[in-house]
Amino acid sequence: MSTEEPVSSWLFLKVGLVIYALLILSFVLSYIEMGRWATPIALVIAGVQTVLVAYFSMELFLSRFSVRMLAIIAPLFVILLVCIAASDIATRDPEPMLVPLPTVEGSGGPPERIRGTHGVPMLGPTEPARPAIEGTLPPP
């Protein structure tokens, strides 16, 4: 009965040390104000850690192509969906969070005054209802 060949345990220890070093780097960088670069830098560090775990600890370097293909395609779907969702909301005009909430007469409207992305007030209980747009159903 065949046995998988063991590899040097030092390999896993070295990879573990690199992952811990990246963990410390990520932690230290979180104290530095980097503005819009903070998110991509943190995600790139997490991505590098992931590649190290997947390639060495999950032994992709010993695996066949069919397994490697799965390990590449599944994260690509994650990146695709997250990027599409983020770019969708970032490029909408008008911004979806500023679309007024429907109000029902006598209900007093939404429970609180809600502000949108940039602090622009949305339709709230203290604001008059907007006139119905021609061709649309009137509010109940």
Binding site: M1, S2, E4, F12, S30, L43, A46, A85, I89
Partner: protein, 215 residues
């Protein structure tokens, strides 16, 4: 010593091992797509409420999240070493390292429970319920903490599942039901743990680091 037997529909052990490994990777791929929905919700609302999300992250305890990250990475390292030592035929050290991974999982769950307890004591509950939201009525705070509890809660369940799985594997190795030729079974259980570790490597910056420059 009991060893994994070759099932009749496989030509050899190598193909049997590969099929088992591929099956686990397919399962992990589907699990990743499961978490993908939660990552997408986070990305969507992070873009919509950047200021509120930064404010909400400051209410999470960064050093507890960092300890949890270190604990999960240690568990990941231990289980990778355990599978390697089992292949070498060093059963005892494989059992000890597998149990260390399970212990890391228990530690993670305990620390996460403490964190949840602190949140509850501050009036932060999922779904925008609690006195915290009276002081912070902005919708971004409600969305952040609902997303936080949903995602980390699901992750905690996965970690707890990993603890059970690895404790079971340690028992099997101890009882000689898994030996050097069946070490791929521990390797497959380890794949699950590595997956849980990878998910947390992203949750940690998302919920603890991005925006919390003051703590």
């Amino acid at each position: 010593m009991y060893e994994a037997r070759l099932l009749e529909h496989f030509e050899d052990m190598e193909k049997q091992r590969h099929a088992a490994k591929l099956g686990m990777w397919i399962f992990l791929g589907s699990e990743l797509l499961f978490f993908n929905g939660l990552f997408t919700i986070y990305a969507f609302y992070r873009v919509a409420y950047p200021v509120h999300f930064r404010g909400a992250i400051e209410h999470n305890i960064k050093w507890l999240g960092t300890i949890n990250t270190a604990v999960l990475v240690a568990g990941s390292l231990c289980v990778a070493l355990a599978a390697n030592f089992l292949r070498m035929g060093r059963r005892l050290i494989a059992v000890v390292l597998t149990l260390c991974t399970a212990l890391a999982g228990v530690t993670y769950v305990v620390i996460k429970s403490i964190e949840y307890g602190i949140h509850f004591s501050e009036g932060i509950y999922p779904g925008g319920v609690g006195r915290f939201y009276q002081e912070h009525p902005e919708p971004g705070f409600k969305v952040f903490f609902t997303s936080y509890f949903a995602t980390t809660g699901l992750h905690v369940i996965h970690v707890a599942g990993g603890v059970i799985l690895l404790t079971w594997m340690a028992w099997w190795i101890h009882r000689d039901r898994v030996g050097p030729a069946g070490a791929y079974r521990l390797g497959i259980a380890g794949l699950y743990w590595h997956f849980v570790d990878i998910i947390w490597l992203f949750l940690w910056p998302m919920y603890y680091l991005l925006g919390a420059h003051t703590k």
